[in-house]
């Protein structure tokens, strides 16, 4: 059986099983499906790395009639990272989302929602069809909203509602763009669109799709829904929401601007997106500095880190390194952010809250999860030898070689701001005083540590991921209009 098919269907099957069976069986089925999906992700990545990227015309119908799925280097890197994060999240959830601790309602709902979210991510990462991508991000959004609301507190419900409104508006704007594309070209396939006859309506379509997807990605000024939503969910859910969900809409955007419609990427539009990214870096960082709850600090940090991803857009048509750099930033953010939320979850369970003063001295009792947070902070601040550093370095180099050093500024500035806002929780953890708390076992603390270590390893062993990404990397536009 084709690894790509397994990758897409196994989490779906697991989700169906988790709905259909009683809680104990459901959890077992979910974990088994997860293990298989991780293996499938690795298999797909190795196929791509071996120079044989899998490609399927579903049902045997090639586009424009059918839907094509294809894994390139970008998909493979995201699939593997997602698999790593999801595996860690589900391992952590095996304990915290069990009926005994979380109640029967959450013990029922968490697993299908998590697996549907995973299935949607995988589907989005390999789909080549703009409408299929719409269905994928809808599945993703609905599962994500469910996970935000799962905690059941009034703030969580309000956050989920706000998220829902942005997600709804965002989907329809995206869909409006897709409608225009189909109306103008009679095709939805990214590769067919790349060789289309340009239409005057393409710029509008791209604008609509971009507006919709940036609302879903929470780019400034559409970020207001993100911090309360990500902070209000239980820790394993927050980890998925913050680390993975924004990457889906981001990848679609990246593919639109570099693969499907690169000729519509006017410098002015790219500059506008870049400027919004810079604003997000500044705004998210300042927001994080102003918070006194560590979950909100970490959530605001996601706003800033998403800003990074968009601040690179103006460089995409100018320098090869910008593209790999921004993907490195996205991958290391995924690993580090998931590690942070999982670590915070363990502290909250031990200390009863996530205010900075409640965390004081926790490093004593939980050295491994505290160290995980510190390593993740190194990645987010873009310090060597992490993957975050490498991404930042590649982007800065791209900015200078393209003669556009302004776009290196947010990278440098954002790193400093990240160090500043992440210092506060670290200092609190590291403080001497500290009540004795019941610490989770070393094995459980090792889960976030492994993720954070992955963020560092991405920088130390960057050759393989870079070689992987080179498969199917879109060429830069030689001539800028």
């Amino acid at each position: 059986m084709n690894a790509l098919v397994v990758l897409l269907t196994l989490p779906l099957g697991g989700a169906l099983a988790a709905v259909a069976f009683p809680a104990g069986v459901a959890r077992g089925a979910a974990l088994a499906a997860a293990a298989g999906t991780v293996a499938a992700a690795l298999a797909v990545a190795s196929e791509v790395a071996a120079g044989a990227p899998p490609r399927i015309a579903l049902g045997g119908w090639p586009p424009p009639l059918g839907i094509a799925l294809a894994a390139d280097g970008l998909s493979a890197a995201l699939l593997v990272t997602t698999a790593a994060v999801m595996a860690a999240v589900l391992l952590a959830a095996r304990h915290t989302m069990a009926a005994g601790l979380a109640g029967p309602r959450i013990a029922f709902g968490f697993w299908p929602l998590a697996l549907m979210l995973w299935a949607a991510l995988n589907a989005v990462f390999v789909s080549r069809d703009l409408f299929n991508l719409y269905v994928g991000i809808e599945l993703l959004s609905l599962a994500a909203v469910g996970l935000v609301a799962i905690g059941g507190k009034p703030e969580a419900l309000a956050a989920a509602m706000r998220y829902m409104l942005f997600a709804l508006a965002g989907s329809l704007l995206y869909l409006a763009g897709v409608a225009l594309i189909y109306a103008a070209h009679g095709a939805l396939d990214i590769d067919l669109l790349a060789s289309r006859r340009p239409s005057g309506t393409d710029a509008l379509a791209l604008a609509l799709m971009t507006a919709g997807l940036t609302a879903k990605t929470a780019l400034f000024p559409f970020h207001v829904w993100l911090p309360p939503a990500h902070a209000g969910a239980p820790a394993p859910a927050s980890a998925m929401l913050s680390a993975l969900v924004p990457k889906a809409s981001f990848v679609i955007l990246l593919r639109l601007w570099t693969e499907a419609l690169p000729d519509e990427a006017s410098p002015a539009a790219l500059t506008l997106i870049g400027a919004l990214g810079v604003a997000a870096v500044v705004w998210g960082s300042l927001g994080a500095l102003a918070q006194s709850r560590v979950k909100l600090i970490v959530a605001y940090s996601t706003v800033a880190q998403i800003g990074y991803l968009f601040a690179v857009f103006p460089l995409l048509p100018l320098a090869q390194a910008a593209w790999s750099g921004v993907i490195f930033l996205a991958l290391s953010h995924a690993l580090a952010k998931a590690a942070m939320f999982l670590a915070v979850g363990q502290w909250m369970a031990a200390a009863g809250g996530d205010r900075l003063e409640e965390l004081r001295g926790l490093a004593q009792a939980m050295p491994m999860s505290a160290f995980a947070f510190a390593l993740a902070a190194v990645t987010l601040a873009g310090l060597p030898p992490s993957g975050g550093f490498l991404g930042k370095y590649m982007v800065m180099t791209a900015a200078f070689t393209a003669g556009q050093w302004v776009w290196a500024l947010p990278m440098a500035l954002g790193g400093l701001l990240a160090a500043a806002y992440l210092y506060r929780p670290l200092a609190a953890l590291f403080a001497r005083e500290g009540a004795s708390v019941a610490a989770p076992s070393r094995a459980r603390q090792a889960v976030p540590l492994a993720l954070a270590g992955g963020g560092i390893a991405l920088g130390l062993a960057s050759a393989e991921p870079l070689a992987l990404l080179a498969n199917g990397q879109p060429p830069i536009q030689a001539v800028v209009r």
Binding site: A20, G59, W61, G103, P112, L139, L180, S199
Partner: protein
Amino acid sequence: MTFVLDAVLCALILGVAAATIAGHGVFRAIVFFIVYGLLVAVGWVRLGAVDVALAEAAIGAGLTGVLFLAAYGRLGREGAGGDAPAPAHLPAAMAGLGVTCALGWAWSALPLPDRPGPQLAEALPMSGVENPVTAVLLNFRAWDTLLESVVLLAALTGLWMLTRDAAWGGRIGLPQHVRPDGVMAGFGRVLPPLGLLVGVYLVYIGADRPGGAFQGGTVLAAVGLVAALAGAVRPPRIGATRWRAALVAGPLVFLLAGLAGAALGAGFLTLPPQIAGAALFAIEVALAASIAVTLAFLVLGPPEETITR
């Protein structure tokens, strides 16, 4: 003459839509919305898209309308039924106007492209069905539809997560108090058999003529809703195994059929032409059942009655 008819219809649609958005009172907005849905369904018939018209009438106006009315009732019970006055919002007006004008301009600038028409005509005989819309939904773009059936399930799972912990395990929806000799109970006895017939018919003919799993499933869901509202049947408990199996049957059969194609070497979601018709019918039946149950549960909402343990 027909143009005048269309113009009048469009004017009506716009007028009712404007009333939905700008009118006073939430209840009135919902009623206008239902009327709007029926008018748009007529519009779809005028555009020659009968499948869409059926879907719009059944889902867009019918089920969505019931959903909103039920929500309005519940909000009233929570003391939140009153309208929250919204001041005129200039940025929103500019955004709305801007998008309208941009799309209006785009209409004039749209080229008439090559469409997958020839490929479709060539592939239709091998698809197992004669209704091209059903062929696109269940065969050519089956992956969309499979994911979409999971979207329904995701919405339901998310909705169930909104249950109060004290009500978890209870019967879904509001506790019903129907007088056995009332009008509602009468409806409950008469309508369901009729609806059942229509729903099954729509699923059955979907292969060749307008109709199909979604439209038929929606009618079946409506049957269940009416029966539940009339007190003819009691909604199941949230943990009931049989009903959960019904929820996943459609996506599961779809998924397994797709995987069978892959296992037989034809490829994922590939149906060999000789068995495509039968396979699609099986998928359509299972899908319709799941859609019916899921939609009915979605409209009924999470359990609300506190369980005494």
